[in-house]
């Protein structure tokens, strides 16, 4: 079962590398679609990161409520987690700013 899966994955990878070797002579002609797809991409990224940060903050606040003595450590861990999740949304914002002239 796993050997067949590995064979299928290997064939797909080889096919992907062959298919991606196409000539790229035309310039990047996105036009107006860049703005629309950038907006949708950013909206999805922000929404999902908002959900992720909500879960992180919820568990942190519950942890502080259960154990007020560990508040500083929990707060530090919460801030680190929030910054990591924030960076994921910012990767998408970077694409928006790089591609939108």
């Amino acid at each position: 079962m796993t050997k067949k899966m590995l064979l299928v994955v290997a064939i797909m990878l080889i096919a992907a590398s062959a298919l991606s070797a196409q000539t790229r002579d035309q310039p990047f002609a996105g036009g107006h679609w860049v703005a629309i797809s950038a907006a949708f991409g950013m909206a999805i990224a922000s929404g999902l990161c908002g959900l992720g940060q909500a879960k992180a903050v919820a568990s942190a606040v519950e942890g502080i409520a259960r154990n007020p003595g560990a508040a500083k450590a929990i707060q530090l861990a919460m801030l680190i987690g929030l910054a990591f999740i924030e960076s994921l949304a910012l990767y998408t914002l970077l694409i928006v700013f790089v591609f939108a002239k």
Binding site: S87, L90, L93, L94
Partner: protein
Amino acid sequence: MQESEIWITRIFNDHFAGFANSILGIVGIHSKRPWTDSMVMQLLVALLLMVTFAILRMRLSADRPGKLQQTFELVYEFVQGQAQDQIGDAAKRYLSFFGTIFLFILACNLIGLIPCFSSPTKDYAVTCGCALATFAYYHLMGIVANGWRYPLQFAGPMWWLAPLMIPIETISHLARVLSLTVRLYANMFAGEQVTLVFLNLTYLVAPVIFMGLHVFVGVIQAYIFMLLAMAYVGGAVAHEH
């Protein structure tokens, strides 16, 4: 993107362009105005840090520590505590790199908030340089600590997993460089862009809130860069040490 220069860069380009072109000429780049904002601001931040540490060194005293010494003792204890959490007791020999990278990135992030200065870290080349330096540092420390058995940790827990583990580990290590670069760059660049957008919309009060957020984000991102550097050094050094 428009190429506007701040006042220091204009001074450097007017007077020291030949010097920069002679250095860039080694790799074959010639430009009319070779100094970029980020290059000049990096040198300025390095100069400021060196002057601060020179003053600190002159005023070190065990009996009556001044405010500067107490501040940097706090910073030192903070960095040492974090390093001991991540690496263990062998953390002392790596503290110089962690402290330097933390203070450099912190100063680079915060200097952009002063009017007429710009953050070097909102240029991806600067953050890529910091990430590559961290990459080289933790591999070098792994080789120093573990000898020539260091690359064996890429093979995974069992020897027959090696052909699968080695590409995965290689890509994951390269992804560390990418994520360090893009995290710091995107945070600083996006913070500045958001401030500029709100400066365009409402001329007086709203951008100040975003600059406050930018201070907070700059401190957190410098701390996270240092924390990840410590985690990578810990992973490289702690293997069967």
